[in-house]
Symmetry: C2
Amino acid sequence: MSRSTRTNGAARAVISDKREAILNAAVKVFAQKGFFNSKVADVAGEAGIADGTVYLYFKSKDEILHSIFDRAMEEFISEGKREISEIKEAAERLQRIAELHLEKLGADRNLAIVFQVELRGSTKFMEEFSAAGFAEYLEIIHQTIEEGQQTGIFRKDLNATVCSKILFGALDEMVTNWILSKKPYPLAPIADEVLKIFFGGVLSK
Amino acid sequence: MSRSTRTNGAARAVISDKREAILNAAVKVFAQKGFFNSKVADVAGEAGIADGTVYLYFKSKDEILHSIFDRAMEEFISEGKREISEIKEAAERLQRIAELHLEKLGADRNLAIVFQVELRGSTKFMEEFSAAGFAEYLEIIHQTIEEGQQTGIFRKDLNATVCSKILFGALDEMVTNWILSKKPYPLAPIADEVLKIFFGGVLSK
């Protein structure tokens, strides 16, 4: 490895650390103050850096919100793909996807607030998100359902697209209820209750 | 009827007309520009009245958004209650509720955008909404499921609260997909597809 490669590697690590620090600070600030009420200066303050430094990494507050979404979806999808690649049976794979969905958001309340509330407040954002990582996630659920239909474990008379949206919608509602609830409770175990009903509807008898 | 009563009645009708006109204008403006980007002046302009007149009816832009939600929920709940009071069987009643949900929002794209996007963008709003008319709506679904469990048509081993949230979450996701879709399609018929799967999960075998 040449000296310049090593130097570049170290520089990239610093850039990535600072970028991460800004994104982590932004999740906290957006969750607590709301995206529209937050200023880039609030994010900089939370990250302990100068306002101008944020603009070395992100063009705008909008781009920070996009990057929070992209980063979380990338992590979630790559972990999900790795985990389900080891599971052969479609229903078990779907079970693991649902559990991961609630485990991930249930483990980070601020991220859950950004996902369930701050990202939903504008059609512009929503349209962009549905075209990006979110579509990939829905496609994984959709494919798993289609595979289960091919192997005969899931009913073949159901529309796989509708099935995948129902499962996503049900999980999504559980997360929203969880962040709005005044009483705290663990989110992840609810995956079992959702799946008991969903599988009742989609499993072949 | 005394003259003053008649005058008051007429005055009330004018107040109610103008209030309605402001709310209708606001639905259009909020759906098209987004709630945060809209100004009270935009709503006044769309309604064809002076800015100051809006403040005779509403304290703030927030109060207009609240009133849009309250008015729509009141109409929806009173129509829903009237319709389902004539249906004896719990599964049929649930079917009618799901149909009404998609019919109402499917008939008014701007209202659907305000419900699915503009009302979701702040935890403050979300918390207030879940405490208000929305809770009443979920309670109607919940009660219907419990009644179906008592008469034995629905599985008794399921948690009725989770069931009602799954049904709501699934319908809600269908509405969001519908407003974000670039290709137009009728929303109401999707109720049947959602219920085919939901009933598969909750009906006693």
